[in-house]
């Protein structure tokens, strides 16, 4: 592959051309890719007809990478180099990883960034995730016979900003254009709502391999609105495995430190036993360690229930808290939808039934529903739908966002469950006389103390006017976009001094590293960089031209004759610059055209608002 290609969405002579877009469920245990083809949503299978791709990545001695079932099968023979459940490490620091003593990996900390030591070097969870995404993208392109225009990638609703950014970076590394990061429960609700024609208040209870989300949505005709969401991004089926792992060690009296391979063996046996218990009252937990020790235990549903009851209770407590946030009673809920393989466990279903007073719905495939929802959204965002039946997904930010203030406290700027996109501002002032700079520390979480929250970014606002303490007025604006990603600006209102930061996690890859990896992937250097930049700029320029042309076709009456002529001239010039592939020229004219069409765009939006409210079409106004 010579160059990473970026398709040009939205630019097609044929309005009926179907754009290839997919939904990807990047799960802890299994990943899937789905698409809408011939008005049907399909989960795509591999050559063996298997739809689920185990989220396992193995770095081989011959420097190749194996992803999926093959890697999983060899996991206990080469545990250190076979990364299982990488989603648990994405956007995290080493200190965040629980049970890491039970895991067969050697973690390192590189300037706060988590890395896993493998024979292929120290790998970032972002890189490992990218391998899974690459495999799925390849599967899709092969099956569909063309290049993907983009993908909707799902993330747990409770993923924080660092975990979301890291996921987006993994997609970038895999060469995917991310149309939207979509919350998993919302994706499931979309699939369920569209396929079942459901309306009313629904709870989505999503327990996966490593993450837990509860979302409450109001489903009405064409609108999917999240009312509240909660969860735990470090709670899932794997934790139930770990309980059995510890129980087995205790029962079999194994005190010695286990090798990496043995840890993996025992974890896999524990998982198997757990899964078997979903079908029968008792199961066998059996494995042989490398020193010949045989572990042969029988675990019953009762034992399993007692050793995992605190985990189950955590999920029910979260469900209760989310219902409280949404200000709803149990009798107002239409139904609870189960999502994620771990909801197959009888202990979960019983606990839910006990709490709700009625049985959860399980008439959908808990493994596929998230990918299906993501595929439907991808199909719409890529522009394949007519617009008449388009739905609206209204999501919320799951965790409060705030700033550190004096004394190590947190001042919340955006509370959790606020509908996104959102922008909120808060005014702060200086502490000392003559203070000319302010350190802004952005955090995420519900606690009042800064140390108990997730640190997202730090930056400084310099050049403040030297005033008496408390006199300066610094306005800090938090903006969360539709992907749930945060950006922050700080502005001293009297002088206009400004600073901003795109919130980038400390627990991922730096932009430089990503660029370097992309270059390494294509095997070339600077040449590719420039071509890539040129290509991206051309895509953006064409978008601007297309939207301006279509705007002139429908709303030219909002412009004077002179304004129209100026714009048309610039369009011609821009097209010429694109033909000549002159990057600087393209940028320059693009900027001019943007400036020229800015107020036109605003006027058109005003008109669109009026149209939307009156429900009339443009012809009628």
């Amino acid at each position: 592959m010579a160059l990473l290609q970026i398709s040009e969405p939205g630019l097609s002579a044929d309005p009926h051309q179907h754009r290839l877009a997919v939904g990807i469920d990047l799960g802890t245990t299994n990943s899937l890719v789905a698409t809408v083809r011939n008005a049907q949503t399909e989960v795509l299978a591999d050559h063996d007809g298997k739809k689920l791709l185990p989220s396992v990545v193995r770095y081989m001695p011959d420097e190749t990478v194996v992803v999926g079932e093959e890697a999983r099968a060899a996991a206990s023979d080469d545990a250190q180099n076979t990364i299982v459940s990488v989603k648990r490490f994405v956007g995290r620091a080493q200190a965040d990883i629980e049970h890491h003593g039970n895991l067969p990996y050697q973690f390192t900390n590189d300037a706060g960034m988590l890395r896993i030591k493998t024979r292929a070097g120290e790998k970032s969870p972002v890189e490992v995730s990218a391998e899974i995404l690459k495999t799925l993208a390849a599967r899709a392109e092969e099956t569909l016979g063309g290049e993907l225009v983009g993908a909707v990638i799902t993330v747990p609703a409770y993923f924080d900003d660092a975990q979301r950014q890291a996921t987006k970076d993994a997609a970038r590394l895999a060469g995917l254009n991310v149309l939207r990061l979509l919350n998993e429960p919302t994706a499931a609700a979309l699939a369920y709502g569209l396929d079942e024609g459901a309306e009313g208040l629904y709870v989505i209870y999503d327990l996966g391999g490593g993450t837990f989300d509860v979302s409450i949505l109001r489903l009405t005709k064409g609108v999917f609105e999240v009312l509240a969401t909660g969860g735990d991004s470090a709670l899932g089926g794997d934790d139930f495995d770990h309980r059995l792992f510890c129980w087995a060690r205790h029962e079999a009296k194994i005190d010695a430190i286990l090798s990496a391979d043995d840890k993996r063996r025992l974890l896999m046996a524990a998982r198997q036993a757990k899964e078997d218990l979903s079908q029968s009252e008792s199961a066998s937990l059996k494995t042989s360690l490398s020193d010949g020790t045989v572990i042969d235990l029988t675990v019953t549903r009762e034992i399993f229930k007692s050793i995992t009851c605190h985990l189950v209770k955590k999920t029910i407590d979260t469900l209760e808290a989310v219902m409280h946030d949404a200000k709803l009673n149990r009798d107002e809920i239409q139904g609870l939808v189960l999502v994620g393989g771990s909801t197959r466990m009888p202990v979960i279903r019983e606990a839910i039934k006990d709490y709700l007073g009625f049985a959860p719905l399980d008439n959908i495939n808990p493994d596929e529903v998230v990918a299906v929802g993501a595929a439907k959204q991808a199909n719409m965002l890529a522009g394949n739908t007519t617009g008449d039946d388009d739905w609206l997904l209204l999501d919320v930010t799951p965790l409060s966002l705030g700033l550190e203030t004096m004394g190590g406290l947190v001042e919340k700027v955006i509370p959790r469950n606020t509908p996104i996109p959102v922008a909120m501002a808060q005014e702060f002032t200086t502490f000392k006389d003559g203070q000319t700079a302010m350190a802004i520390h952005v955090v995420q979480g519900e606690r009042e103390i800064v140390d108990a929250c997730r640190s997202l970014a730090r930056f400084e606002l310099r050049g403040l006017p030297a005033l008496v303490a408390g006199a300066a007025r610094i306005r800090v604006t938090f903006t969360v976009d539709a992907d749930g990603l945060l950006s922050v600006t700080a502005r001293e209102t009297q002088t206009g001094v400004e600073a901003s930061v795109t919130v980038k996690p400390s627990y991922g890859l730096t932009d430089e590293e990503i660029v370097r990896m992309l270059q390494e992937g294509t095997g070339s250097a600077e040449e590719d960089m420039r071509l890539r930049a040129l290509r991206e700029e051309e895509v953006e320029a064409r978008r601007l031209i297309e939207s301006t042309v279509s705007a002139l076709a429908s709303d030219a009456d909002l412009l004077s004759e002179d304004e129209q002529n100026t714009i048309r001239t610039l369009i011609t010039q821009l097209l010429a610059a694109i033909e000549r592939h002159e990057l600087d020229e393209i940028k320059r004219i693009e900027e001019q055209l943007t400036t020229e069409t800015e107020s036109f765009a605003e006027r058109r939006m005003d008109r669109a608002i009026a149209q939307a409210l009156s429900g009339k079409s443009i012809d009628e106004i």
Binding site: L381, G383, L392, L393, T479, L544, T594, E598, I609
Partner: protein, 163 residues
């Protein structure tokens, strides 16, 4: 871009009494048209404007749909700052004190019935305030009264959250 006031944006009459159904419908109609998901393939300019407008619609709805925020907003539109440290009438301060005492009593006694009773009283007080606010804003256009009532509502909401 000139920022519309929230009532204008959501096509609602500038009043305290609100038609929640109409408000919700307006929000949905606007979001269906302006949401960033409708501009995934659009130019950077359009994306930016779409996001700004969507943010405004969300903000407008959150303000107008909440009884307290709506009252505060109407005060703001009339040039009155509800956060100003303005002296309140003595009867208001007296009532505040009584409410504080009742809250303390309920909290100290650990008596569920007492808490329940206080909860009911607060709820009733809230209802009365909402009715009075509607009258002050919409019927008599008495902004001084409306301002005082808004301050009272702020106090009651805070109290309610502590029960």
């Amino acid at each position: 871009m000139a920022q519309k006031d929230y009532f204008e944006l959501l096509n609602q009459p500038r009043r305290y009494a609100v038609d929640f159904v109409s408000l919700e419908a307006a929000k949905t109609k606007l979001l269906a048209r302006l949401h960033p998901d409708r501009f995934v393939s659009a130019s950077a300019l359009e994306k930016r404007i779409a996001q700004q407008l969507t943010v405004q619609v969300n903000e407008a709805y959150a303000t107008l749909a909440d009884d307290l925020k709506r009252a505060q907003y109407l005060c703001k539109l009339a040039g009155l700052d509800v956060n100003a440290r303005k002296a309140m009438p003595p009867e208001f301060l007296m009532r505040q004190m009584m409410w504080h005492e009742a809250l303390e009593a309920a909290q100290e006694s650990d008596n569920e019935t007492l808490r329940g009773e206080l909860g009911y009283k607060v709820k009733a007080e809230r209802e009365a305030l909402l009715a009075a606010l509607t009258q002050a804003f919409d019927e008599t256009s008495d902004m001084t009264r409306a301002y005082e009532l808004t301050r009272e509502l702020m106090f009651i909401e805070k109290l309610a959250s502590q029960i």
